[in-house]
């Protein structure tokens, strides 16, 4: 199976064959990958020992290793082909969900409004703190299903953001 892994705009062509042998950019690598329970993994490659916390969300695989978070994308051959045809790699959703239960203090976005990545769109109070929830993407607010004063559960959808028109080409 052939994969393309993309991290910090760098691409790695990784192949795993039927015997479990691993090639990175055509070079063989000795790889021992083991789940330690939950999202915790141990990787020993070329004798180097690493521990990583790995989670995925939408099209992204987050690897936390050595105290650093790496946002990666791993595409198989078919996904890579599709992405090349589209001219862009698949991107994550722009929706904002409540990261914890809390009280909506303020909503700073209206449906139809254009927003930029990093804009504060909602203020959520929880654990005695006011937390600013920011837009993860550039886009347009599609819907705002909550209002100030409302208590929300964890993972409740707070704001739906769709991609701006020019990205759809």
């Amino acid at each position: 199976m052939k994969y393309t892994a993309i991290i910090n705009n760098e691409r790695f062509e990784i192949e795993i064959d039927h015997d479990g042998e691993v090639w990175v950019n055509g070079e063989a690598r000795d790889v021992d990958f083991l789940n330690l329970g939950g999202s915790l993994f141990s990787l020993i490659t070329e004798n180097k020992s690493f521990e990583a916390v790995i989670d995925d969300e939408d099209n992204r695989i987050d690897v936390m290793m050595g105290g650093r978070l790496y946002e990666t994308q791993v595409l198989d051959a078919r996904a890579m082909l599709l992405a090349q045809r589209r001219g862009s790699l698949p991107s994550g959703s722009g929706d904002i969900h409540a990261p914890m239960p809390g009280l909506i203090v303020e909503v700073k976005a209206l449906p139809g409004q254009a927003v930029t990545q990093g804009d504060t769109l909602v203020i959520l109070e929880s654990m005695k703190m006011q937390n600013e929830l920011k837009s993860p993407v550039d886009g347009v607010v599609a819907s705002v299903p909550v209002a100030a004063g409302q208590a929300v559960e964890k993972n409740a959808l707070l704001i739906e953001i769709s991609a701006p028109a020019e990205e759809d080409q």
């Binding site: 892994a5 991290i7 790889v31 695989i61 105290g67 791993v74 654990m127």
Partner: protein, 505 residues
Amino acid sequence: MQTGPFNKILVANRGEIAVRIIRAARDLGIPTVAVYSDVDRMALHVRYADEAVHIGGPRPAESYLRMHKLIDVARRTGADAIHPGYGFLAENAEFAGEVMAAGLVWIGPSPSAIATMGDKQAARTAVRRHNVPLIPGTEAGMPDEDLLQAARRIGFPVLIKAVAGGGGKGMRPVRREEDFAEALATARREAESAFGNGDVYVEKLLEGARHIEFQILADAHGNTIHLGERECSIQRRHQKLVEEAPSVFVDADLREKMGAMAIAAAESVGYVNAGTIECMVDRDKNFYFLEMNTRLQVEHPVTELVTGVDLAKEQIRIARGRRMGPQENLLEPKGWAIECRINAEDPYANFMPSTGQISTMILPNGPGVRVDSGVFSGSEITPYYDSLIAKLITWGETRSEAMLRMRRALSEYRIMGLKHNIPFHINLLNSISFIAGQFDTSFVEQRFNMHTYEQAPTSDELETVAIAATMYAHHKRRLASQVVAPAKRDASNWKWMGRFERMHR
């Protein structure tokens, strides 16, 4: 009673500090009573105490803040002293007074000392009489227009602070006059919501200053000493994240001067028990009294590690009316200690608090490592209380040894099931500025972030990450395909699954 003999302590708190106090009492052979809300039935403080009494719902107002309930529980269980920990009722003069009126010993300073130091303006008035240097600022209770005038007179930048404040709430820096009105409104609103009191005052904002505090101890026999300084400049939104003892910035001369000032400040309110004088120290080593915290601090362990003094035990000894153990001011700290506050908050998402169950926890240990914590694998971090999971403290003969041990301990520490700020601390401990001791209170917010690193990842590191991510994706895909149709090949050929997994099949 403020001091006197007692035989059982009610701990009016939860989390790591309740556990810390129970440990100190147990080390002294004194039994303890824990109290708990609905969500804390399984908490360690309930399990480690000799007795435990349920006091109400999860919201603090339904349980940990119920003064009369707490006093009633003490009476019913025969506890004749109350230790408030920090937070909740620890700096509530009314509660201290009620405890004493009920004939119980209050393990803390007198209600009047709490009240004076709890009111920023009264505190300034009290310590000024003892020649303690103060930051230029206004009185409390001034209307908006007068505050603006005063801010102009003091000169921007200024800091708006809540009279009833603490922990950064109701506090706003203002650098330009045109931002003053909006910042003032926000500060008042926050203060009103957090403390039920929207009164604020304005102070000169010292740029490039450090936050350095002094630990003091005073007993009922007229002795007041200081146990040296703690460096607390590593903050974010006025929340301390990392503390050290001693401070790289404090030499023996400055320690002596600031120590004398701290003792004078404590004596200005007839202080008895453990307390902390918080100061700002500017680049020229001028220092200014900020406030006095009339309780045990979160960061007290760093002082314990460089003095050998168990502060929680000293609090109890002092409250029993005994002479405190240490008799001398700290001249020379023994080695160096660093504390990292491990919080349930996501450093990659603006330090957003995170809740949930801790599914896995592997604690660092070994030489020079101390962990103060009230949680375990299986603990639930709820939205009702603060986000402190644990305090990780390391000691070394030198600052460099303490830092290397902290890096090592952070790299060993595993907490799964929720987001936490260990990556922040790892990143900080790799920062050249932090290592060199070059930082002030603005360092984290202005010169530090989680998305750019002082050393970029090498391409070897990126390749390793690429392999890990691809293995993960491949494994997941294989699992998914097995659900649809059993794999044709025997999976035991997959070398990357590891010898161990094969062996145990």
